[in-house]
């Protein structure tokens, strides 16, 4: 059986590396939509984190368990309610907020079970999107959002500005933010136009 080895922190995708770089050693972490446990395995191996995961796909859960991770098969919207308050130092929701029915309630839940939350998403205000919709007159299909409107799971398209607004609405605040384009971190200047992806550390208000 091939069990993937934990990645070195430097080898992680840039948004995951940013999360791993921010989380202090020994934290309690819940990764929601943890996939095959890439981030959790790296956190457990290199930062002695108490790493837990929630993942909807049973095959990915099986892979996580085979890596020695504690991962529960479940759904961000339905199953977070069953975790106690303050169970984690950090809740992580990677590239999922744009796929849920009730994003505002999910933010509330993240900040209930976690003292802080990392949330990342594709930025729908990236210039390619604006060109595709504004000039092309079609829903954008880009490297960041590669599926057509009728096939995509992204049902809640949002922008950097929209997310900041939602966080303020929920009485929380942004602790830190990171922006990414072409697989690299970029600066904050003009982020709502330039960033393909954004990552926020959200803290309780």
């Amino acid at each position: 059986m091939n069990v993937p080895k934990p990645s070195a922190l430097a080898d992680l995708r840039p948004d995951l590396a940013a999360i791993a770089g921010t989380i202090p050693d020994g934290s309690r972490v819940l990764d929601i939509g943890c996939g095959q446990g890439t981030l959790l395995a790296a956190l457990a191996a290199h930062k002695r984190v108490d790493a837990r995961g929630l993942e909807i796909d049973p095959a990915r859960v099986a892979t996580c368990v085979s890596r020695g991770l504690s991962v529960v098969q479940g759904d961000a919207e339905r199953d977070l309610t069953h975790y106690p308050d303050d169970a984690f130092d950090y809740a992580i929701l990677g590239q999922t907020i744009q796929m849920v029915d009730r994003p505002a309630q999910v933010i509330d839940e993240l900040l209930r079970v976690g003292r802080a939350a990392f949330v990342s998403f594709p930025n729908f205000a990236h210039w390619r999107m604006r060109v595709a919709l504004g000039l092309g007159g079609r829903m954008p299909v880009t490297p960041a959002l590669p599926e057509a409107w009728h096939a995509t799971g992204n049902i809640r398209n949002l922008t950097v500005v929209d997310f900041r607004e939602l966080v303020a609405d929920r009485g929380a605040h942004i602790g830190r933010c990171w922006y990414f384009a072409k697989g690299r971190e970029i600066g904050e200047f003009g982020a709502n136009l330039r960033a393909e992806f954004a990552l926020f550390l959200v803290e309780r208000g």
Partner: protein, 367 residues
């Protein structure tokens, strides 16, 4: 007389949940793989209702391979090259552990005088056996169905004695529907005139009743889709080899009937009817939250073990919803827990058979 290498008589009486005591108590068990010098590589496997200690070696009565041969052995997911596997026959059973067919103090079999035992009593018996074997702490306890109940009870009652708990196709409480099925089986046994109030060891055994109990239970271990795929409405060939036809009578016309009759009669050759009554009763009484004011999370309050819970999508006996109920309690208790629902056409029996992802999860979790 039990082989001393495969059965041990506990030095002290075993106190039971009912308030009674059982004495003497013999626990039959099988061991596979070498015990490490530090005695820290022990994997305890708990069997289901009609299972036994022969998890990875042939059953001495039937000669069939161990009931979890595909999972336990050298190079298997529970690797006996690394782990010292112990599998015990439950108290109340009929494969060498003290049960209703055992001799009581007066030299006659207990029969109906055998005390009702519980899943917690079984776990206590296992703990006493481990004491006698000089094993303080388990690397893992693993069980499916009733075996999962024993694993949970052991982890809850002896929280500092186990590091990993793997629960397959089980539940933290027996459901009303499952109690109902058990009651059908018990009534079938007790309706057999040979049962004789449980005193039958000198004469004919209530085989007809036990066979019906097994047939009814066997249906609950499968799934509608599985039965349809395996048998459909196909007719059973006649004993002379000619093609099956409807008898316009009550022969086993359908293959599924023939299969169930075969399962029923085969079962009576290896299982004691009174053990069936006592063990189903133990399962029915199981509700792990009961001792904790109904709060299941509190049953795991003191545990430091990691848990892994596995359900099977076509299992309608111990459903995914029951597994999720357990997982939520473990989460609420802060215990490290994994949970996965695997896809299998085999219903409750999915944990015993080849199910995609199962070996990977078991091997990965047990470590």
């Amino acid at each position: 007389m039990q082989d001393p290498a495969t059965a041990l008589t506990l030095p002290d009486p075993l106190p039971l949940d009912s308030g009674a005591e059982l004495s003497p108590v013999t626990i039959a068990y099988q061991q596979y793989g070498a015990l490490s010098p530090g005695r820290d590589n022990v994997v305890l496997i708990c069997h289901a209702l009609t299972g036994d200690q022969y998890v990875a070696s042939p059953h001495p009565g039937t000669g069939k391979p161990g009931w979890w041969d595909r999972m336990v052995g050298p190079g298997r997911p529970i690797d006996t090259n690394r782990f010292h596997v112990i599998c015990t026959n439950v108290i109340g059973g009929c494969m060498g552990s003290t049960g209703p067919a055992s001799e009581s103090g007066d030299g006659k079999p207990y029969g109906p005088r055998f005390p009702v035992v519980t899943i917690h009593d079984m776990a206590r018996g296992i703990a006493r056996l481990l004491d006698a074997l000089g094993i303080e702490r388990l690397h893992a306890v693993v069980g499916g169905s009733m075996g999962g109940m024993q694993a949970m009870a052991f982890a809850s009652d002896f929280p500092d004695r186990v590091e990993r708990v793997l629960v397959l196709a089980s539940a933290a409480r027996q459901s009303a529907q499952n109690i109902a099925f058990h009651e059908v089986g018990r009534q079938a046994i007790m309706a057999d005139a040979n049962w004789n109030g449980g005193d039958y060891y000198g004469g004919a055994h209530p085989d007809a009743g036990l066979a019906v109990a097994r047939m009814a239970a066997h249906i609950t271990y499968l799934s509608e889709a599985g039965l349809t795929e395996k048998f459909g409405r196909q007719l059973q060939a006649r004993p002379d080899g000619s093609e099956g036809t409807k008898s316009f009578g009550f022969e086993a016309d359908f293959q599924v009937e023939s299969y169930l009759r075969y399962q029923g009669s085969g079962f009576t050759r290896r299982f004691d009817a009174n053990s069936y009554l006592y063990i189903t009763r133990a399962i029915d009484y199981f509700d792990l939250a009961e001792k904790h004011g109904g709060r299941l999370a509190d049953a795991f309050a003191n545990t430091t073990a990691r848990f892994c819970v596995v359900s099977f999508d076509t299992d309608w006996l111990y459903t995914t919803a029951e597994s999720q109920h357990l997982v939520r309690a473990l989460n609420a208790a802060g215990a490290p827990v994994s949970f996965v629902e695997l896809s299998s056409p085999f219903g409750h029996d999915g944990f015993l058979l080849e199910t995609p992802g199962l070996d990977e999860v078991v091997q990965g979790f047990v470590g």
